[in-house]
């Protein structure tokens, strides 16, 4: 189902590219080309998500974000920025954004993050950590135990966190950097395939002895857990 997304971006090419892409995903996109306009439109709180460029004319992205949060508007905000250093990312996240993506990015990466933020908004109404089921996979967040087809699967603590993150984003693409940021809480870019190795280990544990694959590789984007 389509959502209302406010895109605050002054670069015309990026704005057109994002509007088109998000539109094709079924979302309705409204565009603001400077910070002041963006803040003005965002203040009614009617959007499901705000994609906010960090460097904007009139009022910069971080100021817009701080003003929104000060006005108690808790619409999820995804900050886009050409400021790519670890320090910049931390600063962006600490100023109240829900996610931070550095330019240049692939559309797949942006879309995955947009979907994760939209899903998090839905899930907010249900804080109780009930069992999560994906096909014949059953996860109990309280005891951190995992069963598939009734058979218990032993996971290391980090593997469990990885699986839980996948399960909470069931049917949605999750990228490698999202996993690194959300599961490991690291905001740098490792040179090696460290995430792939962990995912393939988890996949072996989930799928060994079962016919149906659960953890899928999405080419050019990341992974997806789906029955």
């Amino acid at each position: 189902m389509g959502r209302k997304i406010l895109l605050v971006e002054d670069d015309r090419e990026t704005a057109a590219y994002l509007s088109k892409g998000l539109g094709q995903e079924g979302h309705s996109v409204e565009l603001a080309t400077n910070g002041q306009d963006g803040l003005f439109r965002a203040t009614d709180g009617s959007f499901d998500l705000i994609v906010l460029d960090r460097m904007l004319p009139v009022l910069d992205g971080i100021s817009v974000l701080k003003a929104l949060r000060a006005a108690q508007i808790d619409t999820p905000v995804l900050v886009l920025s050409a400021l790519a250093s670890v320090g910049d990312r931390i600063e962006g996240l600490e100023s109240g954004s829900d996610d931070y993506l550095t330019k240049p990015f692939s559309f797949a990466e942006l879309l995955a993050r947009v979907n994760a933020l939209l899903r998090r908004r839905e899930a907010r109404v249900d804080p109780a950590d009930h069992r999560i089921a994906v096909g014949d996979l059953e996860i109990d967040p309280l005891s951190r135990s995992v069963r598939r087809g009734g058979k218990k699967i032993e996971l290391k603590p980090r593997e469990y966190l990885l699986l839980e993150y996948f399960a909470r984003n069931e049917g949605r693409v999750v990228t490698r950097t999202m996993l690194l940021e959300q599961v490991w809480d690291y905001h740098f870019d490792p040179g090696t395939n460290v995430i792939d190795v962990h995912v393939s280990r988890l996949r072996r544990k989930l799928e060994d002895g079962f016919e149906k694959p659960l953890l899928h590789t999405v080419r050019g984007a990341g992974y997806m857990l789906a029955a």
Binding site: A84, S85, V86, G87, I90, E91, T102, P104, S106, K156, R158, W184, Y186, H187, F188, D189, P190, G191, T192, N193, V194, V197, H198, R201, G220
Partner: protein
């Protein structure tokens, strides 16, 4: 107003003020109440006699002089001289001797009283009467008076001299300062004109100008060092980016030429891969300069390095295994807390571990150890790979100083440079040692506020 003139005036005024203070002090200490009292008496006696003459004429004056001589004390001197200076009446032997001719009014003089042979110091008042006679009246005094009067005159002269000297001193000082500053300015002018090799000539002296010169020279050394480094980084960045960019270009070209859709897809994904690796190089280069500039110090927090090491080891353990190596973590005996940038330290350690996995590998162990000796904390990553020969270690730490000369492989040789920059951000150091065989890379980080 030019600075030189201002310095001259300032020095002049200062010299004047200090001289005035000294002169004032002398004046204050030597000024004698008796002196002015005596003067008052002498003037009064003279005025009385002059009044007597004015009211009673010459006969009354003669009486007055005689009375004064008769009843006055031995110090009293009073006499009337005719226009030629010949004594008419009184107890003086001759006309008083002064510095010049006797003049109207109060003055000090040498007088000889009758019956005395030696002249004595005296304060006298001289009145010229209408017919040219001189009425002299006064008192002999001790030597002190004359001395004091000389002193007071001298003080006045000294004051004038002091003003002149102050101005001269000021001018000389201004000239001196101006000349010294002038040399410095000449050099800095040339530096502003892009000749960074110039230095201010300094000798071994320790005066302020020498220190200033040395300070400026040190600053210039640092600036030219930075400029040199900047030039090197820009050069090597421009140079090292050529190969990834040309690979990107040829992949794009191949994609454009490809007629087979499958082949085009493959080429396009290679384009994306190449641009990603290009981005990674740029991000790392940026991260290095950010760390060297200490901009992220505001994000420091206290965290447990032992725990971070354990997490990272757990994260890389499967990667090492995949590469055929074993990764072991050795935790510190007590919790090792550091006030630092958790994300950047994590990145530094992960760079070291990735290096070890990349260059060492098969069948070997990689040891990650966190230790603490109360003063500083150390994180070491040791492998048994080929290592780096001692003479090439400095090069390995430099930006773009990758040791394998073939630049086709991924990674542009920024890894260790970034780790070192992160160490510097924490006032620490990255040390490369020999593991015999292999490499030990140690991050030494001083503990702050512990």
């Amino acid at each position: 107003m030019p600075t030189t003139l201002r310095i001259a005036l300032l020095a002049g005024v200062l010299a004047l003020v200090s001289n005035l203070i000294v002169l004032g002090f002398i004046q204050y200490r030597t000024h004698d109440e008796a002196l002015s009292e005596q003067r008052r008496q002498v003037v009064e006696q003279g005025t009385v006699l002059a009044d007597v003459y004015r009211t009673g004429g010459m006969p009354a004056l003669v009486d007055g002089i005689e009375d004064t001589v008769t009843y006055g004390d031995p110090q009293t001197a009073v006499a009337l001289f005719d226009a030629k200076g010949k004594l008419v009446l009184g107890n003086l032997a001759a006309m008083p001797t002064t510095h010049g001719a006797v003049r109207e009014g109060y003055q000090s003089a040498l007088i000889r009283l009758e019956h005395q042979t030696a002249p004595r110091e005296a304060a006298i008042v001289a009145h010229k009467l209408p017919r040219g006679e001189w009425l002299i009246s006064g008192r002999t005094v001790g030597y002190g008076l004359a001395l004091r009067e000389t002193l007071e005159r001298s003080l006045l002269i000294a004051l004038i001299v002091a003003i002149l000297l102050g101005l001269v001193c000021g001018l000389i000082l201004a000239q001196f300062v101006g000349r010294r500053i002038g040399t410095i300015v000449a050099v800095t002018d040339q530096i502003t004109g892009h000749d960074l090799t110039r230095r201010i000539p300094v000798s071994d002296g320790g005066d302020a100008f020498e220190r200033l010169g040395r300070q400026i020279n040190e600053m210039l050394d640092r600036i030219s060092g930075l400029m040199e480094e900047l030039r090197m980084v820009t050069d090597s960045l421009a140079h090292d980016l050529r190969s990834p960019v040309s690979r990107l270009r040829s992949a794009a070209h191949a994609a454009a030429e490809a007629s087979d859709p499958a082949e085009r897809d493959q080429q396009l994904s290679s384009v994306v891969k190449q641009s990603d690796s290009l981005m990674r190089i740029l991000t790392t280069a940026l991260e290095i300069s950010r760390s060297e500039a200490f901009t992220s110090r505001s994000q420091f927090s206290r965290f447990d390095v032992g725990q971070l090491g354990a997490e990272l080891s757990e994260m890389y353990e499967p990667v090492a295994e995949e590469a055929g190596a074993t990764l072991r973590f050795h935790e510190p005996e007590q919790p090792a807390e550091l006030f630092g940038h958790r994300q950047l330290i994590a990145q530094a350690v992960s760079n070291l571990v990735e290096n070890s996995i990349r260059y060492a590998a098969s069948g070997e162990t990689i040891d990650v150890t966190v230790g603490e000796d109360g003063r500083r904390l150390s994180i070491s990553v040791a492998d048994h790979g080929p290592g780096i020969p001692e003479e090439r270690r400095a090069e390995a730490l430099r930006r773009f100083g990758r040791l394998d000369s073939s630049r086709s492989e991924e990674g542009a040789g920024l890894g260790l440079a970034l780790v070192r920059a992160i160490a510097h951000l924490h006032d620490g150091e990255l040390v490369l040692e020999d593991n015999k065989p292999g490499l030990i890379a140690v991050l030494h980080l001083p503990l702050r506020g512990a």
